[in-house]
Symmetry: C2
Subunit: 295 residues, 2 copies
Amino acid sequence: MDDIARVRRFNRTVTERIGALDDGYLARGRPLGQSRLLWEIGATNGGGAELRALRERLELDSGYLSRQLRALEGDGLVHVVPAPDDSRVRVARLTPEGVEEHAELDRSSDALVGGILDPLTERQRERLLSAMDEVERLMTASAVEVRAVDPADAAARASVAAYFTELASRFDLGFDPAHTRPTPDDEFREPHGTFLVAFLHGEPVGCVGLKLHGADPAEIKRLWVAASTRGMGLGARLLREIEAAAVRLGAAVVRLDTNRTLTEAIAMYRSHGYDEIPDFNGEPYADFWFEKRLA
Amino acid sequence: MDDIARVRRFNRTVTERIGALDDGYLARGRPLGQSRLLWEIGATNGGGAELRALRERLELDSGYLSRQLRALEGDGLVHVVPAPDDSRVRVARLTPEGVEEHAELDRSSDALVGGILDPLTERQRERLLSAMDEVERLMTASAVEVRAVDPADAAARASVAAYFTELASRFDLGFDPAHTRPTPDDEFREPHGTFLVAFLHGEPVGCVGLKLHGADPAEIKRLWVAASTRGMGLGARLLREIEAAAVRLGAAVVRLDTNRTLTEAIAMYRSHGYDEIPDFNGEPYADFWFEKRLA
DNA sequence: CCATATCTCTGACTCTAGTCAGAGAATGCT
DNA sequence: AGCATTCTCTGACTAGAGTCAGAGATATGG
């Protein structure tokens, strides 16, 4: 059976079995939209959910949301009050009955999941759960989109900031960006270089920069993968894409430096054809230097 | 993370990624219901689809179906003609434009599946597909429902017929039900015994019978699993459930006979605590006899 | 041949989801 | 203080999905 048929078959079985779950049972005699909303309000811990945040998250029309809330208020499950600091903004909060109803949704969703797991033996269940984890991880990985972004762009800035924070927590001696060799934005812009950011659901979850040095080898810098998306091969993907960009921009060889505490990265460089070379840039925080000749 | 959270997480990722597929793109500017219908008509090979069959399969109201078909007819994608043999029945058939549109749906669905697979490396893709197969198999397994059924019931008859057909094709010397020791329905009815059938989507996909012999060991017979549902542990499940039924009906020991060509069954009996014993019933088609003491 | 059942179609509904254009209140900016 | 902006709400819609009660045509069993 070919790949596409396998995916379709998976699709059919899964939606039939799990789709029924969401639609039928979570509704509990109430329109699905209202249940979803109730769920989402209940998921925001503590002080209630701002309407504008709900609208954003569920992508609802403001009029539509308003009406849905009124229906839930009518059922006594929710009450909507002005936000304390800004009384244009309103906040939805579950009433005690709403909390109870939310818990009930929770329970019936649990029961439905149980309906899938219960008929299986312990071993089958364990295999199903691992396979689900694998599908979930790989489908998430395939939802990641990598694209070139201006280094001054908010997503690029956020990625680099996260990268520096990560270094500070991992390096034995901490990390201070001021002590590293600085890279002006322009060096990560074409034609001097490029900067790639990986997005998942619009959030940056990884980055990598490339800096050309004329006829000398180009330099790969700022390779970062968010903790939440590790183990999905995203590092390797960023490396592949930045190598492709390097080729496109005319580099025949790429180099990079790294710290001895970044063991996964070091292993990855080695397994992707990078050879260790002597210090080529005097970077104070580096312990290893690598080089790869591109096809 | 507990099991239920794992399933929910899986659920969220999968429906987001694959649900978008069905809804958004398969619609192609046409209401989803009509696309589904078009798809289903196209899926029936050759002579078109009888409306009553469509109604059954898609669980549609007859008025609703009628209107949907009219809309598709209006778009020139389908034409509906009376069935040649019974002109109360009508048959929907794709027009050449309908065939083209169906192929287009097919292609765009392929493209969306491609969108999931393409960003992955060859190895990741292979892992995703195997994990999908595993999820699909185990979720199908968990959708199987086993219940006691009267041996004269259509589902029981169909199961036993399928079982005999299977035996005929596997035994070296064929199989003729007339030559085996017959079992009147009543012996598979409580209090003399019981008969379990496994259903998947309402279709019988397995069965097993139990025949009590007073203080002597009870006998397990007619253990069958449809070819389409092998490798899901359904045989073991039927065995477990019939053993439980035996205990409930007061049997302390169960016995069974089997033919040497049924190697998977023999392996299963051994691994489920059955010990080989001498011929206890003189069944002409049997080569092995097993016994198990129940807890 | 007649009564009954089967199958499809039409008309008349209901519900849910969702969109769009403002109105009105509160806030922020200058 | 005055004006633009932000946020929520109301009214007035549209469209899809689905239900229900027959009507009309055709088959079938006695």
